[in-house]
């Protein structure tokens, strides 16, 4: 197993980064009155890990025995019936689904499937009525309609069904849902925390960490714990014992974006923009979300930019990202940003150097 999985904390007691949150959650669960939970935070901060730990706290080790199921649901939507395929991950006591997989039909998932699951009350071994947990991933990608249909379900079956929602940004979850949940913000771990984790792994793996090496990985990881651990492991595989000069393997797509950025800085013309378009398409083809491309591109450009321009460029990046989220064809807006940047930069160059 990769270290990411190997050293993933299994229980709330072992949580290393968000210890206080783990503590609170444990109290919540042990007091037998667990509300609906909404976990939100950037990726690689440990949301899923915490959710798994909470489940384990609730149901014991049984929660770890999961099976994957591919089921087709027949949903009656007005006059026609729709077949929906949905992958669920379930143990005896909980079910995990990603309703946004259904795309624009996510409404039916929420209305029919989740309701169906929530209705059936499990009976535990002692004959007592237990409760079950539904874990919904990527709630922020749910359409508005789906979110609206979710809120009634949350109330109606709250007696024996708990929802754990998980998303990256709570701003895309409607107020109504947020107010029905206990919101748990999982912030990205700080670099010190990441360093701590890396050192612990190093100790368990019996590795010699030269001073400063872990800090470098932590710094490059963008406060993403998963990425930090993966980078750590690939360093270990590439070269051991570690040296301080050792290169930390970069993410390939980030490298590619930095190439694009230097292309942009070198020449500003429609022709160059056309070349950049090809590279952008390349990134998009490889399933890298357009928002992340734009964000990274801005980051790379800012690194190379005169301080004078930074503010303006950031403004336009935000402007075009907003439009991108409203629109559909991301490439239009990313290119518009690149064009705008080129325009700003070129007129700046002309103004300074004549």
């Amino acid at each position: 197993m990769l270290w990411v999985d190997k050293y993933r904390p299994k229980t709330l007691d072992h949580v290393m980064v968000h210890t206080d949150i783990g503590h609170n959650l444990k109290k919540l669960v042990t007091e037998q009155d667990c509300p609906h939970l909404l976990f939100y935070g950037p990726s690689g901060s440990g949301k899923k890990t915490l959710i798994m730990a909470v489940l384990r706290q609730m149901f014991g080790t049984g929660a770890e025995k999961v099976k994957v199921e591919n089921r087709t649901w027949k949903v009656n939507a007005g006059s026609r019936s729709i077949d929906m395929e949905l992958t669920t991950l379930s143990s005896a006591n909980h079910i995990e689904i990603t309703p946004s997989d259904a795309g624009f039909q996510d409404r039916y998932v929420v209305q029919e499937v989740i309701k169906e699951m929530a209705k059936n009350r499990p009976i535990d071994t002692k004959g007592k009525k237990g409760f079950k947990v539904l874990v919904l991933n990527d709630v922020d990608k749910l359409s508005r309609e789906a979110q609206h249909s979710l809120r009634r379900t949350m109330e109606k079956y709250s007696a024996y069904c708990r929802l754990i929602l998980c998303c990256n940004s709570s701003s895309r979850v409607t107020e109504a849902i947020r107010s029905r949940c206990l919101n748990v913000r999982i912030n990205a771990p700080s670099e010190e925390q990441i360093l701590e984790v890396l050192e612990l792994i190093g100790k368990k793996e019996e590795l010699q960490l030269p001073p400063g090496f872990g800090a470098r990985i932590a710094e490059k990881s963008n406060r993403n714990l998963r990425r930090a651990i993966l980078a750590f492991e690939s360093c270990r595989v590439q070269q051991y014992p570690f040296t301080n000069k050792q290169t930390i393997p970069p993410m390939d797509w980030e490298d590619h974006i930095s190439e694009i950025a230097s292309d942009i800085m070198k020449e500003q013309s429609p022709k160059r923009l056309f070349q950049v378009r090809g590279k952008l398409y390349d990134l998009l083809i490889n399933c890298i979300p357009p928002e992340i491309i734009l964000k990274r591109l801005l980051y790379e450009l800012l690194r190379k930019l005169d301080a004078e321009l930074k503010h303006e460029v950031c403004h336009w990046a935000a402007y075009y990202e907003h439009r991108m989220r409203l629109g559909q064809k991301a490439i239009f807006h990313i290119e518009a940003f690149v064009a705008k940047f080129m325009s700003i930069y070129k007129s700046f160059l002309i103004a300074t150097f004549g």
Partner: protein, 771 residues
Amino acid sequence: MLKALEASSEGQSVLDVPEAQMVSEQLWVDKYAPKSFTELLSDEQTNREVLLWLKQWDPVVFGSEIRSTSDDVLSALKRHSSIVHNQKPLNSKFPRKNGGPKWNNGGRYINSVSMDESGSSKSIQDAWNTKSRNISPPEQKVLLLCGPPGLGKTTLAHVAARHCGYHVVEINASDDRSTSTIEAKILDVVQMNSVLSNSMPKCLVVDEIDGALGDGKGAVEVLLKMISAERKPDVGKQTFGKGQMQRKSAKKGSKTASLSRPVICICNDLYAPALRPLRHVAKVHIFVQPTVSRAVSRLTYICNKEGMKASAIALTALAEYTECDIRSCLNTLQFLSKKKEALNVFDIGSQVVGQKDTSKNVIDIWKEIFHKQRTKKMERKSHKGSSFEFDSLYTLVSKRGDSDLILDGIHENVLRLNYHDPVMQKTVKCFNNLGVYDLLHQYIMHTHHMSLYVYLPLVAINVHHIVSQVQKPNIEWPKSHQRYRTMMMEKMDILNTWRQKIPPHIGRHLSASSFVEDLISPLLHILSPPTIRPVALQLLSDKEKNDLAQLVSKMVSYAITYKTVKSDMLPQTLKCEVADGLTLSLVPPISDFINFKDYTSNHYVLSVAMKQVLTHEVEKHKILQVGNDKTGALANEGHEVIETRTHNIPLANANYATAVDMKTNENQVNVARKLNANPTIVSSNLNTDKSSSATDSGKPLNMGNMKKPSRSSSSFFDRFKKANTKGVQSNDTSQPEEATLQKDQYPLLFKFNEGFTNAVKRPVRIREFLS
């Protein structure tokens, strides 16, 4: 005299023109339809080429006799060019009552521009002289004429065919055009001799072939079938020279008839999807608008003939307005003359002249958007108000309707243009406009406010104002967005299936986006450690074995393995290393996800040998996992020992089944030991388990124990490996490098499983395992 003639023609046309009672005269369009080749208004070049193409059929259709006749035609043409025409046609369908060759009539009608006439006939003769020597039909059997309506495509086809001595058979959209009927009809045309009095060969004109999609397709299919049938048997060609009768009989036997008569297809939109296959095999001629002056001179002539007053300016305006659509011009004029009104310049924009509701093909629209009219022309148009250009573009774009495609095309092509843009401001504006379009489109789709659709063409017009150029743009079809969509879906699919293969306790923590963002790059590094040596397994040190075992367990836990892929299938895969045409690449193909153009990643690539070892190990590991589950369950039940029996232990794949047979009641350790009797590889697997402190049975084993069973050689495994390289050339994955020089001590019997070679049968004593 003219009046009298007209009166007579009226009298006759009452019979066959239904609306004659109201109109009481023939439509001008029919009345003044060009009757001879030289009267045609369409572009000289096109006319000649069509004629040339038809002439190329002569050797096939007419045999050798045509040579003199054709010369006759030309001379007749010249002779008749000066004859003033004095007879109206009786009706618009070309009457063939006399049965004589048609070209006698052909030249009888006047040509208003006699200069043109002589010029064209000369050039035809030249062209004919050069081309007519070869005796085969033209390269392309079908002629495809396309262009906007009203330019005279049908007329040209008819006139040219008649001119060349064919009897024209027309199939148009009003006829039944299902596959079966059309096939019969074409066969009829192509193969039968006319039973009518005239024995002229027929020429098929399929009009409006793009018209109704389903029906048009039938016609296209039949034509294609016949063309391809023609290509295959070359035998048929030799009989061409011997005249049509023989040809017909030669062809009788064959099932699908081939094309032996010219076929002219006419369409408006060259890029209609139904025509795509035909476009490749047909000779395509695109009609361009005749020059305004030519159209006007013809119109003036007709107006004079009809005694209608019309100024040249008004006629010019009319022709421009209708884009030189002669049919529309004539209908308008006739309408006006009926109402006893004179053509007024100012009427043209108003209701009097009906506007055509045509959609141009999308490439023309892009050209229009990127192309700026010359300023001279603009000035001339300025009397129609400054909004003329706006209006025309707006109608152009909105009539096409397919705004998504149009905008995609703009997006694709705008950066290739050559506009002056020092600080990129125009580009920024352009892209802002595209962005606005995207937002608006998304909003419309989302809220179903279809009325907002009227604003979409404005984006295109805006782009036109920003970047349009005087020089002609080079338009490319927008493929990249489509390509991006499909490829991304494919890759998404790969990711999703991969994720489902990963055991749930790992896969649940990952989402598809985190795969590409965080996981793949480091994973590729982790999976290809440069420290590992591609040597025989028994030569590895303990530490290396440990590393290898960990690597294998990682690969298993992420459901990754190597697979043999034909190298030409994946020429760009990073993991490729060519070894006799076959390469091992990762499955799922995760290395493709970092495969950007012009980007070289510095990932270390394992050698082929190493990959093969890994593949082997991974398979083994998987089997072991399954086996461990089984034996674990078995041991719990507590079976009896049967000790000193000699077993055939099929190793690897089959060994768990026999392990069950053995009914050992020893603890798991022993079972595992037996299973692991042969390969050191498995021992390393057990090491993995040890290190990962998983719930595995092999815990208490040490390395020394493991190696003992294979006493004489360093590895039992190598023994059969050697044998198999000797004996069987099957699809084994074992290494040649790994072959040892160890001699066999036992006769070996082995059985190969598909793609996997570690299934060996040989007698072994339990003692050997236990010692």
